[in-house]
């Protein structure tokens, strides 16, 4: 039977999860034409992307809730029960890593802290409250630390750091026989000759690759600083100001600039971020080695997680779209990946089923 060849387009698949669906799947990696693609930041701006790296390096990496108070349009087209399911699946997956010897290599750690509000939020207990650990309202004594804020939530969650997590995933992928190559794709049909199924995880690149104008950037600028005494996360409920301690630095954020494609850090914005964060945590005045980073959140009214059969003449190319997570990429990635894997297996199944010729 024809080997089903798989293009890995930006998504790192855990192939051992894949094989139960396709017992006869063989990944052809000896074929020199067999390529996979790393992330596309934006078509035509590859040089920029190479300089700044994948967007996940710049953005905040805290695994937090899937919806934020201010930006109510976040994933409005994705039902809450789905978001919660993906969030829970991702949390459980990362939680297991955090408690294993892989934690440091994978860049996953447990962190506790506070989300604080300047006015009582409409939703005092968010949908993800029972997914994180130890969720409760802050006490009066705890709120004294934040005189501008009147309400808060305390909980323990996970942080998953892109710069460590991505290489860790890549290593596992390679260990399972997958191949990762850097190549620029201008059109999905370029892949038709060499591959049977394409999984499109190109984020903002889908504007070009899939003609999807629903996806747009929400620019985020952050600072990475040295402040190793900060052991808690602090997040303002508006989502605009946050302090996320990580393994080797603390992330201070941030911004949400809709439709802004600019990957260069803005000095005024950096000043603003530092000032807002120092207001929440004055000890940050002593932070040093401040580095600016910018990322573009691949925002969309809902995550695009669906199959599409591209047709051109007699040519057919099954595509699984898996993109558009906005600010919830880290928070939901594993849950959506599980679903995408199911869709890929459906595609593979369909390829094996002969199509009746009489139809058309």
């Amino acid at each position: 039977m024809r080997k089903t060849r798989l293009l890995l387009d930006g998504t790192c698949w855990k192939l051992d999860r894949f094989t139960p669906y396709l017992p006869r799947l063989q990944i052809s990696w000896r074929n020199p034409r067999f390529v996979a693609r790393q992330r596309v930041c934006k078509p035509g701006r590859e040089a920029r992307a190479a300089k700044h790296g994948p967007a996940s390096r710049g953005s905040a990496e805290l695994q937090l809730h899937g919806r934020d108070e201010v930006n109510r349009s976040f994933l409005q087209d994705t039902p809450i029960h789905k978001q919660k399911q993906w969030f829970k699946e991702t949390f459980d997956h990362l939680f297991a890593i955090a408690n294993s010897a892989e934690a440091e290599d994978a860049g996953v750690l447990l962190v506790s802290g506070w989300q604080i509000f300047r006015s009582i939020p409409t939703e005092e207990v968010p949908f993800w409250a029972d997914v994180v650990l130890g969720f409760r309202k802050m006490t009066e004594d705890e709120l004294k630390k934040f005189p501008q804020h009147v309400f808060g939530q305390a909980f323990t969650t996970l942080k998953c750091e892109g710069p460590a997590y991505l290489p860790w995933l890549e290593k596992r992928l390679k260990g399972s026989g997958g191949l990762i190559l850097t190549r620029r794709i201008e059109d999905l049909w370029e892949l038709h000759q060499s591959f049977d199924i394409v999984v499109n995880c190109s984020g903002l690149g889908s504007r070009q690759l899939a003609g999807d104008l629903k996806i747009f950037p929400v620019r985020g600028q952050v600072l990475k600083v040295q402040a190793p005494w900060v052991k808690h996360f602090i997040r303002d409920g508006s989502g605009l100001t946050y302090i996320y301690p990580g393994i080797s630095n603390v992330t201070l954020g941030g911004t949400r600039q809709k439709g802004d494609w600019n990957l260069s850090p803005d000095a005024e914005i950096s000043k603003g971020i530092l000032s807002r964060c120092c207001a929440l945590e004055p000890s940050l005045h002593g932070a040093c080695d401040i580095r600016e980073k910018v990322g573009l959140r691949p925002s969309r009214p809902g995550v695009r997680l669906e199959k599409e059969l591209l047709a051109q003449g007699s040519r057919r190319l099954p595509v699984v779209h898996h993109y558009g997570h906005g600010s919830g990429g880290i928070a939901m990635h594993w849950g959506t990946a599980l679903e995408a894997a199911r869709l890929v297996s459906e595609c593979a199944q369909a390829l094996r089923t002969p199509v009746p010729k009489s139809k058309l």
């Binding site: 010897a101 004594d141 705890e142 005494w229 808690h232 301690p245 000890s283 002593g286």
Partner: protein, 347 residues
């Protein structure tokens, strides 16, 4: 008024600062000197992990509970200052783990957000079935001593490297009031059968992903004899050794293994953590803190000694409350000698 503080650990330096802050402006002259054989980084305070947490059981002297609380509130008031990290001070949250249900500790309303652990949290620690979560404070010994030294130096307090052989020698030469903060070595100046070393050994590792403290308890073995992991500002302290009566200052390989195995079992992520340093210290163990006044008759004059030692494994936890108490006693001495420039208020 000449004051000599003997001892330059957290008790000595904080008491010196407390006295100077309170009485410098109300005395015609206040000369404070610190005599010690060991200064940071060679004191026992430097070995301590620095977590604010009293023992679980109520202290035999109820004043100690108050001193613990005063210390916490004093430190908490510095959180929110830009200089907190310079003091070695930072909030830290974490877990206390038990093999069976225990009553809540008397200090549960002193720390922040005290609660019991949920079942999912307990799943992280398969050897334990009950526990607490709360937010407390880290006060790193070494950093804090450096900070105290700077504050004292600014105030003109002098430090002398000197092995004091007796109170009398200090009384004869230099002091009207002696504050005895000699910790575990107090017995050399005045025999105290109630004072014993509680030897501890710790391993400091590089494990910056550890943001929580984890303290296990084994009521059969006793305090500090069960693994604990306490993140500091730069490194993480691993411990679990408490040996009463052991004066050996060298690191012991069996103790190293006990600590390492216990902590790696508790927290598998530590397996590949790099060891930064290892050291030994002596907790000045006593049934209760000796905080009292004693008059010495040296020649024709009376020299006051205020004892402030025996803080066991909770020196950093209780230090400021004790310093305030010593300052109060000092104030009484000044009153008795009619030395206060301004009359004391009608206390």
């Amino acid at each position: 008024m000449r004051v000599v503080v003997i001892g330059a650990g957290v008790i000595g330096l904080s008491t010196a600062l407390c006295i100077h802050e309170r009485y410098h402006s109300v005395l015609q002259s206040l000369d404070v000197k610190v005599y010690a054989e060991r200064f940071t980084p060679l004191t026992n305070t430097d070995v301590a992990a620095g977590l604010w947490q009293p023992y679980l059981s109520k202290p035999s002297n109820p004043q100690e509970a108050r001193w613990n609380q005063q210390t916490f509130n004093y430190l908490l008031s510095h959180i929110g200052s830009p200089n907190a990290a310079d003091m070695g001070l930072a909030p830290v949250s974490g877990y206390n783990l038990f093999r069976e249900a225990v009553p809540d500790p008397y200090w549960k309303d002193v720390v922040l957000g005290f609660r019991k652990l949920t079942p999912r949290e307990l799943d992280m620690f398969p050897d334990y079935s009950y526990g607490w979560f709360n937010t407390s404070l880290i006060l790193e010994g070494r950093k804090y001593l450096q900070w105290l030294t700077e504050r004292l130096t600014e105030r003109g307090v002098k430090f002398l490297l000197r092995k004091v052989e007796s109170f009398e020698e200090v009384a004869r030469g230099d002091a009207d009031v002696i504050i005895n903060c000699t910790g575990v070595w107090a017995g050399a100046l005045q025999p105290d059968p109630l004072l014993q070393p509680g030897r501890g050994q710790i391993i400091k590792v590089d494990a910056p992903w550890m943001k929580h403290f984890i303290i296990t308890h084994d009521p059969e073995r006793g305090i500090y004899k069960s693994p604990y992991i306490i993140p500091g500002i730069q490194a993480v302290t691993l411990g679990g050794i408490f040996q009463l009566g052991n004066w050996s200052e060298t690191n012991n390989i069996q103790d190293h293994n006990t600590i390492w195995e216990g902590c790696c079992r508790l927290e598998p992520t530590l397996k590949d953590a790099k060891i930064v340093s290892e050291c030994t210290g002596f907790r000045p163990v006593r049934p209760q803190v000796r905080l009292e006044r004693e008059q010495l008759h040296v020649g024709s004059s009376n020299t006051e000694v205020i004892h402030n030692y025996g803080h066991g494994g909770y020196g950093l936890t209780i230090h400021w409350g004790c310093a305030l108490e010593v300052a109060k006693i000092f104030g009484k001495i000044l009153e008795e000698r009619n030395l206060l420039r301004m009359p004391t208020s009608h206390l």
